[in-house]
Structures are given as C-alpha cells and as structure tokens.
C-alpha cells in the first residue's frame, strides 16, 4: 500500500523538522500575495528615524520628555489606568546621566539604558511580565544546557 509507506516515512523523527520547514515556507510564500495594510495607530509610536539626532537632542532617539522625579514623560500605553506611576521611569535620569548629557550631544542610547528610560519603562513596568518570562526562558535554557554540559559533555564520567 503506497499511502501507508508515505505515512510511515513522514513519521520518522529526522524528517519532521524538514517537513515542518517546508510547510512554514509554503505559508510564508503566501505572504507575497497577501495585501499588507499597516495600521499607523500603534502603541508607543516613535518619532521619524534620525529626527531627534538631527535636531541635536542629547537624549536621541529616546527623548520622551519629562523631568526627573517631578514630571512624567509621555508614554502611549494600552492601559494607562493600570499603571499608577506611568511615565516616571521614562523621565528618570540617573545623576551620572544628567552629568554626561550636559557635556555631549551624542549621548544617545546609554543614558536611556541606565535605570530609567523608555525601554526600561516598557521592559520593567508596563510589559514587565514579558521580561519575567524572557529571563525565565534564558534561565531554563541555562539550566538545561549547564546540566547536560556538567554531567555529560564536560565530565564524561561513566554512567
């Protein structure tokens, strides 16, 4: 029975990733003909690329307004009612950051990746749960990899 043989072949572990990738590939090809309408009313929109840097903003490209500890920055989140201190993280600058941003125009990213800043607001506050998961994923991967490495690939004890 020919059909039976095809079914048997498809059930071999080694073939399945290949089979799966073919299926995903076929679906992806459909992406070329699907009309793609981009909704420009997005959450957390950002200014045109390079706009802030061209205007010599020391906090480019992550300047969203606000003054440290007094006024919150502008954040367009989904549920502002669920985040009591929204915008404060964005507006926060650590003392070092204030110092450095006064001396140079090209401070850019580093200021905002120190505690405070827009990405911190999203990563730790409004979408903080995502980061919990994300670091859990990393941790689990490390648990798995390090366990296997310690017990099998590095020590290679008899077992």
């Amino acid at each position: 029975m020919k059909l039976g043989r095809i079914w048997n072949k498809l059930a071999t572990p080694k073939r399945i990733p290949r089979f799966y990738s073919i299926i995903v590939g076929i679906v992806l090809v459909a992406g070329f003909i699907v009309p793609m309408a981009y909704d420009n009313h997005q959450l957390y929109p950002r200014p045109t690329p390079q706009l802030q840097i061209d205007e010599q903003d020391p906090f480019a490209p992550y300047d969203r307004g606000g003054t440290p500890l007094t006024a919150p920055g502008i954040v367009k989140s989904q549920y502002p009612q669920f985040a009591a201190k929204q915008g404060y993280v964005t507006g926060y600058l650590s003392p070092i950051s204030i110092l450095v941003s006064n001396t140079t125009l090209y401070f850019g990213t580093s200021i905002y990746s120190s505690p405070g800043g827009l990405i911190d607001e999203i990563l730790y506050y409004s979408r903080g749960f995502d980061t919990v998961l994300e670091s859990s994923i990393l941790m689990m991967a490390f648990v798995v990899a390090s366990w296997v490495a310690l017990n099998f690939t590095m020590k290679r004890k008899e077992d």
């Binding site: 059930a11 990733p17 909704d39 959450l43 669920f82 985040a83 903080g128 998961l133 648990v143």
Partner: protein, 226 residues
C-alpha cells in the same frame, strides 16, 4: 463581538501594566487543571520501567536516578506553571513567550535521558521549536502591525478582519504547533515519551494539548468571520 460567546462570561481580570490576565469559565477550567496536575507532579515519585531483556528470561528495570529526577521535577513544575499562565494571559506576546518557555522546558525534561533515540527526538523537536520562532513571533508581530495592539481584550473589539490579520494568525498557529510539537508533527514528540519518568511526561503532553486548545480560542478572538 464579545469575548463571552467563546468561553463564557468574564469572571475577573488581573492587570499587570499593559498585560491583563482575564478569566472566563473556559480559561479558569484549564488554569485549574494545569495547576492541579502541577501539584500532583510536585508530590509524586516516578515509576520504574520494567522491560524484558532479549535472549534471557530476565527483566531489566529502568529507573530515573536521583539528580536527574530533581532536575526533571523542577523543569516539570516550571512547565506546569507556564502552562497555567498561558491559559489566562490576555496578551498575545505574553502568550508567545509562555509557549516558548514551555518549548524549551519540554526539551529540557527529556534532555537528561540516556537513550540515544530519545535524545535524537529531543534534538529534532528542538530544531522544530527553533524554526517555530519565526512563524510564532513573526505572526504576533504582523498581528501587532495590522491592529496596532496586542491585547486580546482590545483586538476582540475590532469589528473587522484584514487579510494581514488572517495571515498573521495562520503563521501564529503554525508557530504554536511547531513550538509545542503536537499536531500535526507528532512523531518527534511521541518518540520522546519512551523514556521513564511518567509524571514529567504528563506535563509535556498536558502543556502542548492545552496550549493548542487555548490557541484556537485566541485565533477565534483575532479572526472574526462575521
């Protein structure tokens, strides 16, 4: 459209910033089931597998050794919690991360075994899980691009379905199928179940089936046929 025609009326929400968890009877049932099984796993010991040996009349007993047992139980509990979380989350991207976490933990549960066949299956499943991140995250991103939001409670209020949303959700479904490794790419996963340690194997199966069921709810929320 209202979310209550799918899983029943909303019984409550837990807001965590932009990520809002919601409970309908449907979500609550699966949440409770996942937690119940996780609790069961936490207190159970493993079985020892008895196999007949070739050529003699003796039996061979395959046991899970202590260190391996602890690691696998830990991973299984994490997997159970992740499944429970995925059942109630109301955020598309949060869901994808839960699914990925489940995928990696599933690989981990069988990664410590000694059978080559099982390891091979785990590796192939891992490959699928890695390929699956493209449709999974890509699909979520396309849905975000087409709707402007990834909160399911917001998406459900959009009255129409664009073709990009449909395309995104097909990709998303493929991604979930790859990440959890059940239908229709079943053989890799079934091969993994030959190893001893049944409570842990339960969680692999539990997570993938419940995730598939939940994905179907999510897809029905995103795509509105009428």
């Amino acid at each position: 459209m209202d979310i209550s025609i799918l899983g029943g009326p909303i019984l409550g929400i837990i807001p965590l910033g932009d990520i809002v968890l919601y409970f309908t009877p449907f979500n609550l049932f699966m949440f409770a089931a996942a937690l119940a099984f996780t609790a069961l796993i936490a207190i159970s010991s493993t079985e020892s597998q008895v196999e007949a040996e070739f050529g003699t009349l003796k039996n061979r007993e395959v046991k899970v050794d202590k260190a391996e047992f602890k690691l696998r139980r830990f991973l299984a509990i994490v997997c159970g919690l992740a499944t429970a979380g995925a059942m109630v989350t109301g955020d598309l991207f949060d869901f994808t991360l839960f699914v990925t976490l489940i995928g990696i933990v599933n690989i981990g549960i069988v990664a410590a075994v000694k059978e080559i066949d099982v390891l091979d299956a785990a590796f192939q499943y891992g490959l699928i899980a890695m390929i699956g991140t493209l449709p999974l995250f890509g699909g979520a991103a396309l849905i975000l691009a087409s709707t402007g939001t990834i909160s399911l409670l917001q998406i459900v209020q959009i009255p129409y379905t664009t073709s990009l949303m449909l395309f995104g959700s097909i990709l998303f479904f493929l991604g979930v199928a790859g990440e959890t490794g059940v239908a229709p790419f079943f053989a890799t996963k079934a091969e993994m179940f030959r190893t001893p340690g049944s409570p842990f194997l339960l969680i692999i199966h539990l997570s993938s089936l419940l995730i598939i069921v939940r994905t179907i709810e999510i897809l029905l929320i995103i795509n509105k046929p009428f």
